[in-house]
């Protein structure tokens, strides 16, 4: 188990290094920041001063090394627009995003898992068909459409909830609902197929043959096995906690990281975009690492499997 854990952490570190490097490459490829920030009409001295100021006049590999050194010390530069630390600019938006994404994630799991399990257990009955129909709708409707529909019903028609902004907790309800419902549909589908796969396995039959009542077969034999594939999709959702709300934040004017990303891209604020990219990358890596470690915990086969190089 220790070797498994260390191996996963080592892999995660490599991925983080790659993400950091990729962020550098992508941003450098998107054009000369001097021209983008100062505009094409600025005098040449202004460009030179800007480049010297930001270290853009040095050879690319030195820039890269410096950048890497700075990132590893937590220095991610300043916002090219208002000069504040980019980390700070992004950091103050993170809690706002988490305030809607974490409750949304809980909602996805709380609705999606039981719905998927139910659908699998009552396969081909009206319960299954009902759940799957709703799930397909959730799957296919884009989040901005669902967001707008919900806003139309609850804010415009009924007037129960505000349609945008972030002043009170009521403002959070519609964004949470939008993300939660769509995510629940995804989880329900995954859980259902994972459960169906497991319920068809010989060990389920042998658990029944051993004398367990069906309820115990499901809880102690089917669910732990079905959890393995379901973990993947939940892990992916955890990974998108920071970045997954771009559309919904825009629809409901929620001032989180997602909206910041939209404005930063529009303003060509490279440092801020970079920080957000890194943030997204890190949370993804972290979530994947967690899922991997959970896998190892849930599935003993992964812990002790022979690592075969070819067969």
């Amino acid at each position: 188990m220790l070797r498994y854990t260390l191996l996963r952490i080592f892999r995660a570190l490599i991925t983080v290094t790659l993400i950091v490097s990729l962020a550098f490459v992508i941003l450098r490829m998107s054009g000369d920041p001097a021209i983008i920030i100062l505009g094409p009409e600025a005098p040449p001295e202004a460009y030179a001063a800007f480049r010297a100021n930001w270290g853009l006049d040095q050879p690319i590999w030195i820039q890269y090394l410096k950048y890497f050194g700075a990132v590893s010390q937590g220095d991610l530069g300043n916002s090219m627009r208002d000069g504040r630390s980019a980390l700070q600019v992004v950091g103050e938006r993170v809690p706002l995003t988490l305030a809607i994404t974490i409750p949304a994630l809980l909602l996805k799991i709380l609705i999606g898992l039981p719905a998927g399990i139910c659908a699998a257990l009552y396969r081909n009955t009206y319960i299954d068909r009902l759940i799957m129909t709703v799930s397909v709708m959730g799957f296919t409707v884009p989040s901005f459409v669902l967001g707008l529909v919900l806003a139309l019903i609850f804010a415009v028609k009924l007037g129960w909830l505000p349609s945008g902004g972030s002043d009170t907790w009521q403002h959070a309800i519609l964004p949470i609902l939008t993300m939660g419902l769509i995510g629940a549909a995804v989880i329900a589908r995954f859980t259902r197929s994972a459960m169906l796969e497991v319920l068809g396995q010989p060990y389920i039959r042998s658990a029944s043959a051993k004398g367990l009542v069906w309820r115990d077969v499901v809880t102690s034999h089917a669910l732990p096995n079905a959890a393995i594939p379901t973990l993947t999709i939940v892990g992916f959702m955890v990974g998108s906690l920071v970045a997954g709300a771009v559309v919904v934040e825009s629809v409901f004017s929620w001032p989180g990281v997602g909206r910041l990303l939209v404005t930063a891209v529009a303003n060509r604020d490279l440092a801020v975009v970079q920080v957000i990219l890194l943030f997204i990358g890190f949370t993804m890596v972290f979530a994947n690492l967690t899922v991997d470690l959970l896998y190892g915990w849930v599935d003993p086969r992964l812990r002790t499997k022979q690592l075969q190089a070819g067969s």
Binding site: S206, K210, R301
Partner: protein, 338 residues
């Protein structure tokens, strides 16, 4: 011999959405106390379904008819809790693929402990001690250590031993072994068959051995039922069945087997294929593949009826004539050997 389980006129129909397809057409079978009974037949003949249906393990899509009596209990009328007591308690079952019949995410000890808790009320250290004893009993070395291992850490043969230990946990009166060695290598098969033979003798446990392998059944059982297309077409004492088979299908199966010793001969194959359950021919299901079939065979479904009176039952319109031939043939084989 009084029967410990007796199946009467069992039918199974599977719900195919728009219609029901009959997979079992009225099976009657008794298993005596401590008796070893073999059920043979090719895939899809219903040999496994019979016993899964008896224990209510076929799921909601199957409609089961007839009666299964165990003592005064009618198994098909029991509720879930009643059935759960029988399953793994009075009747235990082991399956073809031992490695996937054990739950991959639970330790061996936990899976064994579950059976001990359900049927013997054992928990904690008592359950652990008994689990260790059972593993010892089925010939697993390092039993204490194995309890902490997972199925994927054990070989197929070892996992089948674990399955057998789990079956023994409930001190069953009947053990149903459904192709218990089909997924195993020959030398491992010999080990498992030895173990099963020894256990059923020691524990006065009846053994129902379901297999496609005539050799395994001949080796292990006292009585054999041959199934074809959801019906028993012949049953007899094992020696009788293999020395004097009567039904053309049984004879065909035996003739189709290659030998390991003796002169090499051309195999006698049965022409055609097994019809699917939803497209059975009228009359005797075997008629289209049978050399002896005539018009009567396609008109009428033969009944399973006794010939000779020593418990040899055959379901064939030409049973009497074929039986006479079989006896003559067996006698001449006897002469040849002598």
């Amino acid at each position: 011999m009084d029967a410990i389980v007796s199946i009467r006129n069992m039918t199974v129909d599977f719900d195919q959405g728009h219609r029901f397809v009959r997979a079992l057409h009225g099976i009657s079978l008794d298993v005596g106390r401590g008796e070893a009974v073999g059920i043979v037949g090719e895939s899809g003949c219903g040999k496994s379904i019979t016993w899964l249906a008896a224990l209510g393990l076929l799921g909601k899509r199957a409609r089961v008819g007839g009666r299964v009596m165990m003592g005064s209990k009618s198994l098909l009328e029991l509720d879930e809790n009643g059935l759960a007591d029988i399953r793994g308690g009075k009747i235990a079952m082991i399956f073809q693929d031992p490695s996937s019949s054990l739950n991959p995410v639970h330790r061996i000890g936990r899976q064994l402990g579950e059976a001990l808790r359900l049927h013997r009320g054992l928990r904690g250290s008592a359950a652990k001690a008994e689990a260790k004893r059972l593993l010892d009993r089925v010939g697993i070395s390092n039993a204490a250590q194995r309890l902490n291992e997972y199925p994927h850490e054990l070989s197929g043969g070892m996992n089948q031993r674990v399955m057998i230990a789990m079956a023994l946990a409930g001190e069953p009166e009947v053990l149903i072994a459904d192709e218990p060695t089909t997924a195993l290598d020959v030398t491992i098969q010999a080990q498992i068959l030895d173990l099963l033979r020894e256990l059923s003798a020691d524990n006065e446990m009846a053994l129902v051995l379901i297999s496609h392998d005539l050799g395994v059944v001949a080796d292990m059982t006292e009585r054999v039922a041959v199934m074809y297309c959801g019906r028993i077409i012949e049953q007899a004492a094992t020696d009788t069945l293999f020395s004097r088979p009567v039904h053309p299908y049984t004879r065909g199966l035996i003739a189709a087997l290659p030998d390991i010793v003796g002169p090499k001969r051309r195999l006698a194959s049965i022409p055609g294929t097994v019809p699917p359950p939803d497209r059975l021919p009228p009359g005797c299901s075997f008629a289209p593949r049978c050399a002896r079939a005539d018009q009567a065979c396609t008109d009428r479904q033969p009944e399973l009826a006794g010939i000779g009176g020593d418990g040899h039952d055959v379901s064939c319109l030409h049973a009497a004539e074929l039986a006479t031939n079989a006896i003559r043939e067996a006698a001449s084989n006897e002469m040849e050997r002598a």
